[in-house]
Symmetry: C4
Subunit: 204 residues, 4 copies
């Protein structure tokens, strides 16, 4: 099977995930700036973080399938696994923002991001196993330093929220910093895949 | 008419169905793990089941239309019938999860899955009638054992929830087991259609 | 401009409209069949009607743009006008179902359907004006009896709900019958456009 | 990379944004016209305005990417920036309509429109920098009078809502008038881009 419809379905699901999060933002009851910041301030910040996270997944998904020609049943299910993990992001985002960065919601949010990062690696591995070691994707991904670093940062965030300063908020803030660092790492474009794209498109 | 836009519209509807179910998940009021499990534990499990169910329909829909070249008005309406049945899944899923597996919601959930399974068979039949007995789809589907088994399991689930141990929960758990068995049966990829795909793509 | 992206955007909007209506269905508080019928019975019926209405618009939209090659700015705006009217259907559907067929919500629902029917005729006219009297669409549409009948039935429904038996529900039921008749008229496939499609595809 | 999937994803996000706003419309509790106007009157007007605003962005986005062949990572992120600003429109629209045109919500709504207008200019600039001064888009956009006028009107609206008659509503109405003027300016089709499209398609 070609990748067209898998990409279209994934685009649809990711577009919905990234957009329905805004429905979880509570509209302020009052009409002043302090109402806005009090009711929606935290929510807007966490929404921005989750928006960029889902945007990163769309971006890398987009680039990955650019290097894939055919998909099998295993790839379809690995892809659905990734979409399932990401579909929980609006739920965990809403819990973090309603609890205003309480410990448990932040841990669950981190585990959600971690599950998506692992599901992404699984998807990548399933595709590379199918396409073989000489596939353009395998050469482009290489050692996949970024994917491994993401998992490490997610783990570090979850662990620090779990262990450091459980009564205060120090561990939680370290966790949020880890998640923001992952975002910053990915927003810098992945030159390896771009280079491979450039090479594979050059003769066409 | 070509199948492109029918597939795009179905992808859109299925992507929305699979994603908006997460909006029905209630965000816990408290901030502890027990709040999460108490408020959303059942909901997350039923959401996972429904997500995989809709994912299976997207998967088989995807593979079926891969073997179809042209669609008629009858196919469009049979397809809308399937989408209508599936569009009720978020509603019945929410009722099962809010009632925490009460008898009536589970029966209605089973009837919903049953209606989708029948609508799928209707769609398949309408397409095969149009394409003729020599069509690639007809050869690929064959006796459609899985489709018939799904209907049988759905029926068995509904009947056991209706009749067995109406005061306790035994019948309900047999029903949920039937639904999970359908999921397991389908997640194993359908080698018949894959083989047909392989053959029809090989000479191209 | 080609029609591809206009069709994709319209497919997206129509897929969302047809699916989010299910979010307006209230999940029953209790766990019995009478709770289901009492809380959601009317809602499910009106949802079915609106689902088929939006499905009809997707269907005819699909067939219409199959005969169109290029779109102008005027077509884009006429299309957005149609989508706006249809985007209000979930709102008016929810009002009819929450009020359980009160007079005013039914009148507003009828006006909503009427506005969509008029917006469709406007879109068709804008396209035909652009494509000229010899265009395949113009020949396929002909006198557009169905479009005119839909407007007449919508008007008749609105007027009977407004004037007949304002204290009872007779006028409301005549109105709902009119809306159901429109649905039946359209679900019978439009042989004129199919014939034109057949002719335009035959030599290809 | 080609622009196809970026366009498909943007279409999906814009289709969802434009449609979910209708979910924020509160269904009237009563069943009379005065209930409708009291509960949803303001909401429907603001919804219409926001619908047309998002429609304009879809329209211009559509036309812009018609003149673009390849996208880079920077373009993907600039596009996500625009989508993020637009994804907040349902939230600010709901606040304006629930507060019935209070000063602060109108200012925030104006800032939201302003951020989208700036994000659009950033996206345009990133694409033109990549494509070079001889690109069809650069020639089509020219001095981009409309983009600059939009930013000016947005700014004027925000400033008048902030400074003029803070206790009454005069400044707020001037602001809403500014936003409506932007809409009117854009609904008139952009003949420069159409002309370029016409020229670039003519020899094809």
């Amino acid at each position: 099977m070609r990748t067209g419809r898998l990409e279209a379905f994934s685009d649809g699901v990711l577009a919905i995930i990234i957009t329905i999060m805004v429905l979880e933002l509570k509209v302020p009851q009052g009409h002043s700036y302090s109402d806005l910041i009090h009711t929606s301030g935290v929510g807007l910040l966490v929404y921005l973080l989750s928006f960029v996270f889902v945007g990163i997944y769309w971006n890398t998904h987009h680039q990955m399938f650019h290097l894939v020609r055919q998909v099998s049943g295993g790839v379809l299910w690995a892809n659905l696994g990734l979409l399932f993990c990401l579909s929980l992001v609006p739920f965990t985002t809403a819990w973090v923002s309603e609890s205003k960065f309480e410990q448990t919601p932040v841990v669950i949010y981190g585990l959600n991001l971690l599950s998506a990062a692992i599901a992404y690696v699984v998807l990548q591995t399933v595709i590379i196993q199918r396409e073989g070691p000489d596939s353009p994707l395998h050469r482009a991904v290489g050692a996949d330093l970024k994917g491994k670093l993401s998992i490490a940062f997610d783990l570090a965030g979850v662990l620090s929220a779990l262990t450091i300063d459980r009564d205060g908020h120090v561990g939680v803030w370290i966790a949020m910093t880890c998640f923001v660092l992952i975002v910053i790492m990915w927003v810098v474009p992945d030159r390896r895949i771009y280079r491979a794209l450039h090479q594979s498109e050059a003769p066409a």
